[in-house]
Amino acid sequence: MIEEVIVSGRSNPEIDPYLHVWGWEIPFYLFIGGLVAGILFFSAVYTIRGKQDDYPTAVKFAPMFTPLLLALGLSALLLDLSHKLYFWQLYTNIRWESPMSWGAWTLMIIYPLAIVWSALWIKDVFPKWDWKFKWLEDWIEIIRQYQKYMAWALMVLSIVLGMYTGILLSAFNARPFWNTAILGPLFLTSGLSAGAALIMLLSKKEGEKRLFARIDLMLIGTELFLIIHLFMGFLAGTNVHIEAARLFLGGEFTNSFWIFVVFGGLIFPAILELLELRKIKIPHYISAILVLFGSLALRFIVVDAGQASRWLY
């Protein structure tokens, strides 16, 4: 057997011995992005289907949080930039090949839409709400005529947002663990699941809670399927991909991933939801919080593991 020992004179901060240029900010933002995508998706879908009174939390109440959540996520992104004062350069270029550019422009469109979307529902949520300015109220009434079109746009854009949070990572061929097309659909599904969980958490209507528990169950099933395929793909891949998978199959991320993400964030809440649907009394918020936590943990572990995986030479 041929062995190789490499001694490198390089010791750049955050690069050596293991790459760690992305700390908590990026996974936190990816979680927020997915969660917002999930909330907006369900709100848009049930608006299009005319179910705003059947599922008021999903359609009207949950979107109220999206402008604040996006503000938090974008603040994290800004904190991550090391040359902050130049952030506006993102908006002087459109780079089709760069997922980072895609994300910047998607957010540029989705953020104002999320604000307007919340504004359209605010009187349904807070009946005493007063806009103070007549022109603002008139303006919102004009936009209301186009609500259905906006819902369609939001449905598509929320899928783009949820998908992009995964594609951002999968575009990096240099980090074998990220370099898989599964990451886009996996993060989208996980984001939708987080959105459904938040709706379950906020909802006071039994019917709505049950619907989102069922939706969440389907999404958890899809996620488990995607995770199995992720590892099947890696193990059938090249040496560096097999090494990347080993980080999770006995390597340093084994415990955190299988315990916190797969069991704690997917399988256990799925069992709780199944029992709830069978009318066994378990508070909805337990499974919802577990799903949200699992979704957050998935982002942190994937961002860290990607940076730990590399091409060896």
Binding site: S11, V21, W22, H83, Q89, L90, E97, A174, R175
Partner: protein, 177 residues
């Protein structure tokens, strides 16, 4: 025009003069380096072989850092040199994670920094600092599009390899073996 570098691993003694020359020439901040020396020992004891390589940005023809940059701060100039425009870089670090050679780092001033092939010297017809100081003259810099250049002739005559060609980056630093 396609600038490239060839490094003779049979002549390199690993003295790190190239590293020091680069740091002085480019005022590289303390604790950082744009080029570095790697010693790779391979085989099974007692049949071991040692390869010493001076490494840096590979100025890839299919550069992932340029592809993923959201602002065009990372771009390719005439001659195929990959450079970073400091005033366009936002420090998102996507290029750092995209580089399979880990050749980039964040400069303490915030922008991303890396080897420029000493473009300021090359434009004046001089060699990069690392090449010009090498005491064993194991480094060659030149135009691989010109069949008569020293580097083209060497690459025809000698056996060579590039680092991780399977990553698809089409690197332009050649190691003569």
């Amino acid at each position: 025009m396609r600038y490239a570098m060839a490094i003779d691993t049979k002549k390199c003694v690993g003295c790190s003069d190239c590293v020091v020359a680069c740091q002085v020439e480019n005022n590289v901040p303390i604790g950082h380096c744009r080029d570095w020396v790697v010693e790779a020992t391979s085989g099974t004891y007692p049949d071991l072989s040692l390869e010493i390589r001076s490494e840096r940005c590979n100025h890839c023809t299919n550069a992932p850092c340029v592809r993923c940059c959201p602002t065009e701060a990372s771009h390719i100039v005439d001659g195929g040199i990959v450079v970073v425009d400091h005033d366009e870089c936002i420090g998102c670090k996507a290029c750092i994670t995209s580089c399979p050679y880990d050749a980039r780092f964040v400069h303490p001033e915030g922008y991303v920094d890396k080897c420029t092939f000493c473009i300021h010297r090359v434009e004046k017809g001089e060699n990069p600092a690392c090449v010009s100081v090498c005491p064993t003259k194991c480094m060659y810099f030149g135009d691989t599009d010109d069949p008569n250049s020293e580097i083209s002739q060497l690459l025809r005559k000698r056996k060579w390899k590039t680092l991780i060609p399977e990553a698809g980056t089409e690197p332009n630093i050649y190691y003569l073996t």
